[in-house]
Symmetry: C2
Subunit: 424 residues, 2 copies
């Protein structure tokens, strides 16, 4: 249990540095770290880690171990071109529990920018919300990790355990960034990921598969349309078949711990579609990308086999060639088992800041938490600020929520890792 | 009625020049005159027209008259960058009937080239068929026009009426090329267009509209998918609404002359689709292009109003913004009235070559014939060779059919325009 005076000093320090934290976070939001364009944002983070006195490790995530791992997400974006950044704090005397503070630097595309109220990259704060693509998901969280540690220092303390502050890539598409960090040897007694979770802790979350489906039609002139087979029409038939699988999986939610009360835990999203090349030709090809969710405990390979079975039936009933390829996440879901010491410490930290009990919930979205939980045997606390419209238009994060989350993380670090006064 | 000896000489001349004709046609097929890339092919045709002693007019098709015309197809491809070529033959003494020999030089995209048996641009002749994109639609026809005139000259005759040999652009997307030629003042007592019509004459054909439909969704993270509205799913709903309109129009086929016996005269084709930008985001936008057919006698504007009504209902029932814009053909269909002198002459020429009666039929595909018929009051004979897979994979045209069609056109020219022996 953290000493009350220490807690108050740390809380005061978070508040003292909060304007700096917001300014730094805004600067990070203004760096459009879309997939494979994370270099500038990683530079900024690397600079901040160095300034905080951490040892920095920056490396391209590719490795044979990564590609061979069952949790690897197949991708056409060369992992050799993508860099993780990890800052390591090494204590003078080590007697606490070690910790990973993880965050992802990559953000999803903006969608039509003209549909935003302002530029997705200007990081304006309006009525208590910071706007921008990635503001909530999850640059506020990266800032929270960094400034939680800063707050300890400002308050005059240093942790007494090893801490790795990770800024990973690929969380939005494959999860290969966190996986690469784990495979590089970064492990700890607990992990915190401040994803935008509405001040709550994630108890369970789905796995996710991405795959491309290509159907080939029989192109022809429209005057002979009955001889042609429209690949765009066929794509929609396949989508309907997949929607049936989605329904089937949703109907099984009662069999899965923590999912029975989620309204619709399994979502299939048709996120991208491209087909045809000429309005007056029956399209020869249509490709669409599916994001499919799966329950924890279902290996990705097993779900993939079931999906392929459905697609084989579509192919047979259409009589047209259908090809499907994994093209990103190939990820199992996870459950954060109740009763871990890490969760106890977070619950205390949360209650001290929020004055209310830490709630946990089940989320039907992908999280890198699965990497640490499934493959590192590390209790992973996904816990972060209040947001709206992540992946949508006018994504935003609540400023006061960032302050509270940062404080809770700082108190968590202090109790989990232990602190001692800075004497030198 | 054409003198038998003259007919035989002309027939022999077509045969004598037929290898040259095939070689020239193959060269034209090897020039990939995709939309807005017709320059090289037009150079080739211009050269051939000049070599045949015609006066050449080559001009960019744009004009205020064109853009204001009711038959103009709206387009984002600047008409100022697109050139028609017309070669004019002027007789020494004029006492026959004038003629337009029209063909379009533009070809549709190939679709996936790996699905072709050979390159779409190699113009191979295999088992009596010339292959290649545009081989049938309609470079064989352009060759037929040119070599029909060549045959007269080779046989020792020259026409006694004005002839315009047209190589127009935009037949595959707007029809603005032929329209621009008409507006430039090219008119005549008849027009022949050797489109690939299986050795038959087109009696009636549909009008065509192209339009883009864009639906905006409500993008969101998948974990909140129930709050999002997938634009790709919404596009499918709209397509279904349009399919209902298509069915409604098809059910009315009995009300339209020459269409009652066509199995399915009205085809709506969803030819191109693009939507979304990230598999794990609910797509904010989906755009698809529709090619819709309409009966002759239905003005494009009237059909467009009916289509917009359907889309307005889709918009209302979806509760999502739906926008539609004409993006190409805005074309009424036409009927070739029976009993014209031009058709009589063609019927005689055809019978002499084929030994069988000229059949006419109704085609559910767009033809530039509407330009001459509707806006020039010129009987337009769309009549050309046997083909397979136009707009499809392995498009091809039957070589012997080219020979016969060329002969029939040559005999038609001789009788329609009249001929006299070349004396100088």
């Amino acid at each position: 249990m953290l000493d009350r005076e220490i807690a108050e000093r740390i809380t005061a320090a978070v508040n003292a540095r909060f304007d700096d934290q917001l300014a730094w976070t805004a600067e990070l939001v203004r760096s459009p770290s879309l997939r494979a364009q994370e270099t500038d944002a990683q530079d900024l983070i690397e600079g901040a880690l160095l300034e905080s006195g951490l040892t920095v490790d920056r490396w391209a995530i590719d490795s044979p171990e990564l590609r061979d791992h069952e949790g690897y997400g197949p991708t056409t974006v060369d992992p050799a071109t993508l860099e993780n950044v990890v800052g390591t704090y090494t204590p003078v005397v080590e007697h606490g529990r070690s910790l990973i503070l993880n965050g992802h630097v990559d953000v999803v595309p903006t969608g039509p920018q003209e549909s935003w109220s302002r530029s997705p990259w200007d990081a304006s704060i309006v009525d208590g919300w910071m706007y921008g693509r990635g503001s909530a998901d999850m640059k506020a969280g990266i800032g929270a990790n960094l400034f939680a540690l800063e707050a300890l220092r400002t308050a005059g303390y240093r942790p007494t355990a090893r801490i790795h502050v990770q800024s990973v890539v690929e969380e939005e598409c494959t999860g290969n960034g966190s996986l690469a960090a784990l495979l590089r040897g970064y492990t700890a007694d607990a992990c915190v990921i401040p994803e935008p979770e509405d001040d709550k802790l994630v108890r369970a979350n789905v796995g996710v598969l991405w795959f491309d489906v290509t159907v080939r039609g029989v192109p022809t002139h429209l005057r002979e349309m009955s001889n042609g087979r429209n690949a765009i029409d066929a794509a929609y038939t396949i989508m309907n078949d997949l929607r049936e699988l989605e329904d089937r999986w949703n109907r099984r939610k009662g069999e899965h711990r923590y999912f029975a009360d989620v309204e619709r835990p399994i979502n299939f999203n048709f996120g991208v579609i491209n087909g045809g090349d000429w309005p007056s030709s029956v399209p020869a090809r249509c490709t669409f990308t599916v994001r499919a969710a799966i329950y924890p405990g279902t290996p990705a390979a097993q779900a993939w086999a079931e999906i392929q079975e459905v697609l084989a039936k579509s192919e047979a009933s259409l009589g047209l060639p259908v090809a499907a390829t994994p093209s990103g996440f190939f990820a199992e879901g996870y459950v954060l088992e109740e009763g871990s010491a890490a969760e106890d410490v977070l619950a205390r930290s949360h209650e001290r800041v929020f004055g209310s009990v830490l709630e946990s919930f089940t989320t039907p979205g992908y999280l890198d938490g699965r990497v640490f939980t499934l493959y590192g045997d590390i209790p992973c606390l996904v816990y972060g600020p209040v947001s709206e419209a992540i992946h949508g238009l006018d994504e935003r994060v609540e400023v006061e929520s960032i302050r509270r989350i940062t404080t809770a993380i700082a108190l968590f670090v202090a109790e989990w890792c232990g602190v001692e006064p800075i004497t030198d």
